[in-house]
Amino acid sequence: MKTNNAKKNLLYLLISLTGVIFIGKLFQLQILRGVDFDPVHNASIKIEYDYPERGYIYDRNGRLLVANQVSYDVMVQPNQVKLSDTVEFCKLLKIEKEDFITRFKKAENYASYLTSVFLKQLAKEDFAYLQEKLHKYNGFYIQKRIIRDYPVNAAANVLGYIGEVNEEKARNSNDYEQGELEGKEGVEREYEALLKGKKGKKYFNRNRFNKVTGSFKNGLMDSLSEGGKDLTLTIDIELQLYAQQLMNGKRGGIVAIEPSTGEILALVTSPSYDPNMLVGRDRSKNSIFLMDPNNPEKPTYDRALLAAYPPGSPFKMMNALIALQENVINTETTFRCYGGYRYGSKSHNFMRCHCGIYDSPIALKTGIAKSCNSYFSNTYKRIIEKKRKPSQGLDTWNKHATSFGLGSYLGYDLPSGAPGLIPDGKYYDDIYKYRWTASTNISNAIGQGEVLTTPIQLANFTAAIANRGYFYTPHIVKKIDLKPIKNPEFINKKQTTINTEYFEPVVEAMHEVFKTGTGRWSQVNGIEICGKTGTSENFVRVNGYKQQLADHSILVAFAPKNNPKIALAVFVENGGFGSTIAAPITSLMIEKYLNGYISEENKLRETNMLNLSLQDIYNYYRPKNKEIASRKE
């Protein structure tokens, strides 16, 4: 009977326990009122937001790039809506009835008890009209917002844009409500916290009909809005605009850096878009077009930051510097070229060279100026073979190359980037199971093998050469509210692993490139340009067949030779030889930046470049084009 009693009492026990727990919880909720109790996050309190002005953005010379304008959204709280005449209401908002239904459903799905955006960014004349009529419709009201205005149509990739916060973030963050705007790309995204400012809040009591009955606690908890901070970019908008014009009809990227500070003077991707396309009522239509993954032009893809291309010949300077530092060559060491470099016994194991100096000794200066493949293949072989194992040699090579910021994200203050690739010993050990030699990856000697760099990495690399051994991490923001930035990442020097004395012969050779070498057609009188052209081979697979495309045209340069003011990397996709497109663009940009104008003698060069379009080539090489592929078979 004892067990039976225990069983009898179980329910009594459960009841008492539940009663105690529930009353305890009620005590905690209603009398102790722990952290859960927040009188302000109460649904009978209405919070009205006062959105501050988002920070303005200026270029380095104080020219206004991004300002604000006011826009109006129609908001809806679905559970309060009582519509007697939908048709009339649709007419008022200028939308179709189906559109009305889908929008309303979306708002209901988000939360019937919360407000969400019904119609975005009304035109000003619509707003005036709506404001008079809308109060008749319960559950709908108008919210004022600050949106962007772009006085200059340039640098969309740098500035980024603002857009509505996604629902997930609006739910989980205390800083954002559904329908509010945040920076989505570029500077707008990276500096969101500074640009945004702090929204002001006003608390009101409201009754069951959502009518405000008075201020909550006499405004004791209200706060004023704080404006966002203004940013001054390192961009020179004149140079940026000029570069964008030069890149018209071409695809590629240009990055220009001031070597003495690491400030990015221009960051160009082509094709780009007008930043005003992402503002206003056509915004969503435009963004579908811009972000269409099938659009081969990819206007929102920032080639200057994201496109990792083989660097081609400019990488020869890297090999020269490493070889000098590792003491496997000196400036007097010579190699002979026989129209190419044989790296294996088979007949096709031959890397051709276009330097045009047959069977006579070539030293460093000529090697760079004439871009001799044989010279650098020999040099690379010596670097790799300096150590007992090739992987150790390559690790040393990797250490030096990465000290220039190659193969990493660099750490600049923009939200997108690509690391590129600088292989190390392990990389090839894994592929070739430890059975490889310098000859296996000899194309690294000429920047053509596994090596991949982005334009901004190449520009930074060039800036490090211009500085003879150090660089500042490239950055895009110069001042915050007119006070210079203090981030130690950007104001402290980064030393490379190459000693200063080894840079001088390389700089001399780069100077030679524009005097007598591959860049001599793009000289500018009175400016000592140092640079290096490049031509990078590239392939695509069309219907399973590897097909070689027109080479990418590359150039890195800085000027003037002493006390350099600008270092840049220019990349033109499928532009052919570096000397034909990238070199003239570079020299025009340098002349424009240093002199402020293009001299008479170079006007023809300017006109040619402005009008040159590679669109035919791009159309021809669209991999979709099956007809071409079958013709090739």
């Binding site: 069983k7 329910l11 909720l29 939360a111």
Partner: protein, 426 residues
Amino acid sequence: MRQEKNNIFEGIDWILVFFYFFFVGFGWLNIYAASKTDENLHILDFTTKYGKQLLWIGFSFPLIVTVLFFNSKFYERFSSIFYLISILLLLLLFPLGKEINGARAWFNFGSMSLQPAEFVKVTSALAIAKLLSDRQYNLNLVKNQIKAFLIIFFPTILIVLQPDPGSALIYLSFFLVLNREGLTLNYIIFGVISISLFILTIFFGTQTMLFWVFIIISIIVIYLIYREGKRLIRFNWHKIVITYFLVGLFVYGTGFIYENVFKQHHRDRFEVLLGLKIDTKDIGYNSYQSKLTVSSGGFSGKGFLNGDITKGNFVPEQHTDYIFSTIGEEWGFLGSGLVVLLFMLMIARIIYQAETHANKFGRIYGYSLASILFFHVTLNIGMVIGLLPTVGIPLPFFSYGGSSLWGFTILLFIFIRLDAHKNYDW
């Protein structure tokens, strides 16, 4: 055999009747507060929720008289038939039912709808009482256990399929009845351990739980060896291995099912409840708002019709499943605490009365009633004050709705009828 008196109110337990009328009356006041709008002022306006509820309450009086009119024997004799009819009604829902809030749980008669599930509780309680009260019936036999489980799970499954898993959960309360009637406690212990493991796994993650479960079982085994000596291993090693294996499998399975079979909205519910995710807007909105509403009442409440959150209609479904939040806001700790206390006293009273029955049928039915009420009240108030996940079931006698009110009225008054006759030898 003594002849029954003609007075149908003879011998009934007025304490329970008092509880009933207090709850229904106080419930209506809160429904009035929760659904009042300024436009409709007349309390007998049947287009309003409170007007309709008054109508349901009015109808429950003839219902009570009818229930009391029948002889106790009647309920025992026809319990199987009632059960079968109610199951038939549940089956008929699939072709004929009307879908409200995603569940096909309602029959529609013009402007009125009826939810059969509310009445199946009554017939199931009758059927269980009938089965278990048989003198030959012994719950230690697996065959008999299965019979009882079938009675419980048949309506449960039909209700899950509607799908209305919240209402189906109530049928687990019958395990308390079975336990009282001699079913081994192992089923309940097993259930409780499974649920605890399930929740802990979600909370701490599969890896951590596997680790801790291993440690805890090992500690228990070592303790047992220490106490019982090494013989324990010789005779029980297979049990130990199986325990490790099954518990491990359960934890791993839970993690797997949680990640791969559950949909995101299921996971969200659990995570909000376990505090892994803070959400004041969407799925957590109901729970957050109701907790806040209850809190805002303070010690003595804001007063009848003065709850501004209630008036602002900010708690969804406040007149039905969340009616307790209105009590919390307008009547404060005093009112809501009193309601909890009264509910517990009422259930205790039912058990106390049931234990005095000489007749097994009446006792088991009383126990079923107590268990069902206990589950309903616990799950509902637990949900409103944020102790339990959002399960959409009404608060007995309080929540708006005719089916729910009538279901509980019949459930309670059948017991009052049986109770009034317990002293007759029948």
